[in-house]
């Protein structure tokens, strides 16, 4: 019974812990990455210019140091595409985006990072910027011409707080004075440590570009599950690369798959071991109870009556062990969920997020019943097959 109990406990606990973390992460990524992300994929490698004019299969052509073509990463007709997408009934929100690399300076402290030029109100509609703000006011981005919202980690490294003035320098050598109007914390460490929001106009100024220049379009759908098909559709319609959020985080989902597999195997082995434990115990009990079985048979109890007794016994072990296991697993999850951790890793979490999905509880209980029934079946059959005469005469 203890074996079943611990099997179920571990099942509940592991499954809850793992999927809790994964769900937390997915939740975070769904909220911080676009469901569909449209951008211009710049192909840097290109064939020799000469190969267009000369057949290169029969002779050697060497062009040294060919530079990538000067191709802007921009999405042309960005404004039209955005207003077009806006009309799509499946779309909840769409926002332009201009990404660039830059250096932040506050006095002597300097940090490199990525700047996101956005329309802050549209951005908020997509990524809940407001909810993630731990200080400052989103609306000041609109009212001030040079507002900037820093990631929490970035702000800390710079030593910047609200209303500080910082200097932002782009790769084009343009520098702008900005005013910190907010600090945001998404929970995804990499973003919080490098990312800052500025207005689209300022981003264009930093890159010395005109007012229609954007590099990405982010789309949020009403139904996340449609991401894949919508992405495919947009890619053919607009001719730019459109990626759904799952593809954008493919590496992470790969890790999740491996994790899930590992845990599944651990749980299966625990249940197999506890199954063998039950098998052993029942076997011992059956040999102990041989005289009782013999007299019951002499009294007129049928083979199936006897095997039923032992099947019920193993089922009782399964049910009680299973129930205690569910309870213990639930308690363990609760307790672990209360331990403050403050992990700064992939994502930053304060507490372990544990999934209390009732489906796990049902599955664990079902597993317990199945494994005990299977483990009880063979001893029960053996008990039914004892020959009472042999047992009684051997005494």
């Amino acid at each position: 019974m203890l074996g079943v109990m611990f099997g179920v406990t571990v099942f509940i606990f592991q499954a809850g812990l793992l999927t809790g973390l994964q769900n937390y992460f997915i939740d975070k990524t769904v909220n911080t990455t676009a469901h569909v992300h449209i951008y211009n994929e710049v192909r840097t490698a290109r064939p020799h210019v000469i190969s267009r004019y000369i057949d290169t299969t029969s002779r050697w052509v060497v062009v040294r140091n060919q530079k990538p073509r000067e191709e802007a990463r921009r999405v042309r007709n960005g404004t039209q595409i955005i207003s077009d997408i806006q009309k799509d009934p499946r779309v909840e929100g769409v926002a332009p985006f201009l990404g660039l690399q830059g250096i932040y300076r506050l006095g002597m402290s300097q940090q490199a990072g990525s700047l996101a030029g956005v329309d802050i109100l549209r951005e908020d509609q997509l990524f809940k910027v407001k909810e993630n703000m731990i200080a400052g006011d989103l609306l000041r981005m609109e009212t001030l011409p040079n507002g900037i919202i820093l990631g929490a980690g970035l702000a800390e490294k710079l030593g910047a707080t609200i209303d500080n003035s910082i200097i932002v320098i782009s790769s084009k050598g343009v520098s702008l004075d900005m005013k910190v109007v907010g600090i945001s914390k998404t929970g995804i460490t990499l973003q919080d440590n490098t990312r800052a929001y500025i207005s689209l106009r300022n981003a264009q100024r930093l890159l010395q570009q005109s007012g229609s220049y954007i590099t990405d379009i982010n789309v949020r759908l009403r139904d996340v599950d449609l991401s894949e098909s919508v992405a495919r559709e947009y890619q053919t319609r607009y001719g730019y690369r459109a990626e759904d959020w799952k593809a954008a985080n493919a590496n992470v989902f790969g890790i999740f798959r491996i994790q899930n597999m590992t845990v599944t195997f651990v749980i299966i082995s625990i249940l197999v071991v506890s199954g063998f434990g039950i098998f052993n115990i029942l076997m011992t009990i059956i040999y102990e109870k041989m005289p009782d079985i013999a007299i019951l048979k002499a009294m007129g109890y049928r083979d199936r009556d006897i095997s039923q007794i032992f099947l019920i016994e193993s089922l009782a072990i399964g049910i009680t062990g299973g129930l205690f296991g569910l309870l213990l697993g639930f308690l363990a999850s609760k307790i672990v969920g209360m331990i403050p951790l403050n992990i700064q890793g992939f994502v930053s979490v304060q507490y372990l997020v544990i999934n209390f999905n009732p489906l796990f509880y049902m599955a664990a209980f079902a597993f317990a019943l199945i494994s005990t029934t299977v483990a009880g079946y063979f001893p029960a059959r053996k008990a039914a097959r004892f020959d009472p005469v042999e047992i009684i005469r051997s005494r």
């Binding site: 005289p291 009782d292 007299i295 009294m299 007129g300 049928r302 083979d303 005469v389 009684i392």
Partner: protein, 225 residues
């Protein structure tokens, strides 16, 4: 009124392991209703095997056995179990009471298998048999708290609860002292005289054998009168 309870015709049984060995060699036997028969003989003579064969527990033999005009061979394994439940009571050398159950529960076990009486009726019948054997006052005790003589009497009560046609016994007094042996023998004789109970017992206790109506001696798998 003569009514044949057990009729065995040319029953032969051989063991093939470890060596071919004939345990019962063409045994024919008739037991009338209300008869108290004992099987005697030295150990290894086949008397116990004969008893198990006649009582339907042992089903591998040649020849024919009829109990109350039913041919045993014609019954399936499950039918045989039901047949034993209604027709036959067993008393063994060891009492075989279930230690975790009370005396009353032990006596009720065959009735529960029968399943035709209500819970109260089963309890009533079990108490009746316990009273008959003088152990009604022990009914609520765990069966392993009783003395050897009491346990054997409970075992007899259990054998009788479904009112079987035949009571089979395998040295039912083998584990008892003289005093308890006498009590058990008195009970068996009472059952025979008062209830016309058919009884077939195996023993090598001569005092026991003397109380019976008929003694059948077995030697080397054959009946020697």
């Amino acid at each position: 009124m003569n009514h044949t309870m057990i009729s065995a015709q040319h029953v032969t049984k051989r063991f093939t392991e470890p060596v071919e060995f004939v345990v019962l060699d063409d045994v024919s036997i008739d037991v009338q209703k209300g008869e108290f028969v004992v099987l005697v003989g030295p150990s290894g003579s086949g008397k116990t095997t004969l008893m198990y064969t006649l009582s339907t527990l042992d089903t591998e033999y040649d020849g024919d056995i009829e109990i109350d005009n039913t041919t045993i061979r014609s019954l399936s394994k499950n039918q045989l179990a039901t047949f034993r439940n209604t027709m036959i009571g067993f008393v063994f050398q060891f009492h075989y009471l279930l230690p975790d159950f009370t005396v009353l529960e032990n006596v009720m076990l065959p009735a529960q298998r029968l399943g035709i009486w209500s819970e109260e009726e089963m309890e009533h019948r079990a108490m009746e048999k316990l009273a008959l054997l003088g152990v009604a006052d022990q009914a609520s005790k765990k069966s392993n708290k009783l003395s050897g003589g009491q346990q054997q009497r409970v075992a007899i009560a259990r054998a009788l609860v479904n009112e079987p046609k035949i009571l089979f016994g395998d040295e039912p007094t083998g584990n008892l002292d003289t005093k308890n042996t006498d009590i058990v023998l008195d009970i068996l004789q009472d059952l025979k005289t008062e209830f016309n109970q058919t009884i077939l017992m195996v023993t090598h206790d001569t005092a026991f054998a003397r109380r019976a109506d008929r003694i059948i001696s077995i030697r080397d798998g054959r009946i020697v009168e």
